[in-house]
């Protein structure tokens, strides 16, 4: 949350936000009780997101923008069934204190009601939000969100994040970033956008081929492969000062994956033998992880960093293996499919997504439990679907598909379904990776 606001408001405002605007949320016990009720009934949460109250022309315009931002943000998560507010949702007989008509809410099937008001003071927006359990008319959340006028998205998404966490007990995608490769300038450069595809910004301008961008868990470093030095080289960019450290050793580097904020793993071909190494953020080598004559690539780590899933051709065609970092013990994970690559370990720890190149020419995304059980196919009959990467809450997967021609970035539910294009444009988009930080 603080991370999010740092991006839009000066430090003083962050301080104000933390000190003055203290959330008046319900007690942990009450929230836990509510989440427990939610979990029993599967399916989406029936939510009425009411239009914001606002006085004044400018205020009304900001309120309308925020209505859209919050609606679209909550819709993006696919956790909610968004119900239009019934006309009589508020009783305005007392103009200063409109009363919520809970009878009207329950009659349209709403489980949760969220509404509030927007005010403006010296260029700052104040968003007062209240969330009620529609059936019990119990106040679940009351909180004020403050930010600058140009930071409306962050203000709205801060509320969305709180709402999702309140109702599911889990962190959400709000505030997270997706990095990917685009050829829009004629070169393969790295770009960053918000979780919903908004606000695409370039992160590199190397006029070469960049590959496999990955943000460190704290979002402070970007690891990627660049051909700018003449050969594919592991680069680690410090996003605060823009400085890029690279692995100076000879040979090629392939597909980095972060183990922690300070260590990234990548395949380095030193003197012709490809092995996975752990590399520090200054580009120095920390430790060799694999020791095998075959191809070993694409490291991805369990959340605690103790285990690494990776691709190896040690048994012939590429398959996914899991290695225990401490003991070095290796176990084969995938047995179905002849060509399995691009593993991505869920931030929740339980599942690993990967792609299978099928006999019919399709490339499809699968998920499997880290213990090898529960194999599930997520894409089918849609040409090539590649480079899966989990959202920070483990609920979604970002990937690419060429189902409509050019390869583009898509998102879907990590259980399959809700597949949709994330980014418009005429460019070729590849290798998306979802950040952990928010």
């Amino acid at each position: 949350m603080v991370q999010l606001f740092k991006r839009v408001v000066p430090g003083i405002i962050v301080l104000l936000f933390c000190l003055v605007v203290f959330p008046l949320t319900l007690s942990a016990a009450e929230a836990g009780e509510y989440i427990a009720i939610r979990k029993e009934g599967s399916g989406n949460i029936a939510l009425v997101l009411d239009k914001l109250d606002a006085n004044g022309k400018k205020e009304s315009r900001f309120a309308q923008s925020l209505d859209t931002i919050m609606h679209d943000g909550l819709d993006f998560t696919k956790i909610f069934s968004l119900i239009s507010p019934p006309l009589n949702v508020k009783d305005f007989s007392d103009k200063k204190n409109p009363v919520i008509n809970f009878g009207a809410l329950t009659s349209v099937g709403a489980e949760v009601y969220a509404g509030g008001s927007l005010t403006r003071k010296s260029g700052m927006i104040n968003l007062d939000m209240k969330v009620y359990d529609a059936s019990g008319s119990k106040l679940l959340l009351s909180k004020t969100y403050t930010g600058r006028e140009e930071g409306l998205r962050s203000i709205g998404h801060a509320f969305c994040a709180d709402l999702v966490e309140l109702l599911t007990g889990k962190k959400s995608v709000f505030g997270s970033k997706i990095v990917f490769i685009s050829n829009r300038t004629g070169f393969k450069e790295i770009y960053e956008c918000d979780f919903d595809g908004f606000g695409v910004e370039p992160l590199t301008n190397l006029k070469s081929i960049s590959m496999n961008p990955a943000l460190s868990p704290d979002g402070k470093h970007l690891a990627f492969i660049s051909f700018a030095p003449g050969r594919p080289t592991l680069c680690i960019k410090n996003l605060a000062d823009g400085k890029i450290a690279s692995v100076s050793k000879s040979g090629v580097s392939i597909d980095p994956g972060w183990r922690s904020n300070s260590e990234v793993a990548a395949t380095l071909s030193l003197e012709g033998n490809q092995e996975i190494y752990l590399v520090n953020t200054d580009g120095s080598l920390s430790k060799r992880v694999t020791n095998n004559k075959s191809i070993d690539i694409s490291p991805t780590f369990s959340p605690d960093g103790t285990k690494m899933a990776f691709v190896s051709s040690r048994n012939g065609l590429p398959q996914i293996f899991i290695q225990d970092i401490q003991s070095g013990l290796v176990k084969r994970l995938t047995f179905s499919g002849r060509y399995n690559t691009q593993p991505s370990w869920s931030p929740l720890g339980d599942k690993i997504a990967y792609t299978t190149w099928e006999k019919n020419g399709e490339i499809n995304i699968f998920v499997i439990n880290a213990d090898g059980s529960g194999l599930m196919q997520l894409t089918q009959k849609s040409r090539e679907n590649k480079s899966p990467s989990f959202s920070p809450d483990g609920e979604m997967i970002v990937y690419t598909s060429n189902r409509q021609g050019k390869e583009k970035v898509y998102v879907m539910s990590s259980k399959g379904g809700n597949e949709r294009l994330l980014l418009q444009g005429d460019d070729v988009q590849t290798q998306p990776s979802w950040s952990l930080f928010r």
């Binding site: 050969r231 594919p232 090629v252 012709g272 490809q274 690539i297 690559t341």
Partner: protein, 162 residues
């Protein structure tokens, strides 16, 4: 295998190669003796096409393989002879793949193709310090088609004289 050793050794001696490196390449499977040891002045044939006009010829690979074919080994020997007789020159060996599969794996496969070609040349007697390798994976295809003909052209170790 012994027969192969003798042939390779004999070829190297006749080509004026140093005999200290006359070790049989592990992957040598050919039993066919080369027809000539002198590269043609305007090279044509296996290792040469619109993307490689010489003097060093390229080497082609099967799907998902970095194993050198008999023809590939023959081309590498020709390249080795050229490098031995032009001792100041260095070469860059680029590994390339077709577009199929996934790009990270292809980057690894391209590296193995380049390294495989380099190691053959080193066993042949070319100093390792004169050969640099790089992989372009599927990033820089030569042929732009999407059929086996184009793919076969793109699975190669491409030589660039420096």
């Amino acid at each position: 295998m012994k027969r192969n050793s003798i042939i390779v050794l004999a070829l190297m001696v006749t080509a004026g190669c140093s005999s200290k490196s006359a070790v049989t390449p592990e992957t040598a499977t050919t039993s066919q003796a080369p027809s000539t040891l002198v590269p043609p002045s305007s090279p044509t044939g296996y290792g040469f096409d619109q993307w490689q006009t010489g003097p060093l010829g390229d080497v082609f690979f099967e799907y998902d393989s970095s194993t050198l074919s008999a023809e590939g080994q023959e081309q590498l020997k020709q390249n080795g002879i050229y490098l031995e007789s032009n001792a100041v020159k260095k070469a860059l060996v680029e590994g390339h793949c077709d577009e199929r599969g996934t790009s990270e794996y292809n980057l690894a496969l391209g590296d193995r193709r380049a390294v495989s070609a380099k190691e053959f040349l080193v066993r042949f007697g070319v100093s390792a310090s004169r050969l640099e390798t790089v992989s372009f994976g599927e990033e820089r295809p030569f042929a732009t088609g999407h059929d086996e003909e184009a793919w076969a052209k793109n699975r190669r170790a491409h030589f660039v004289l420096k």
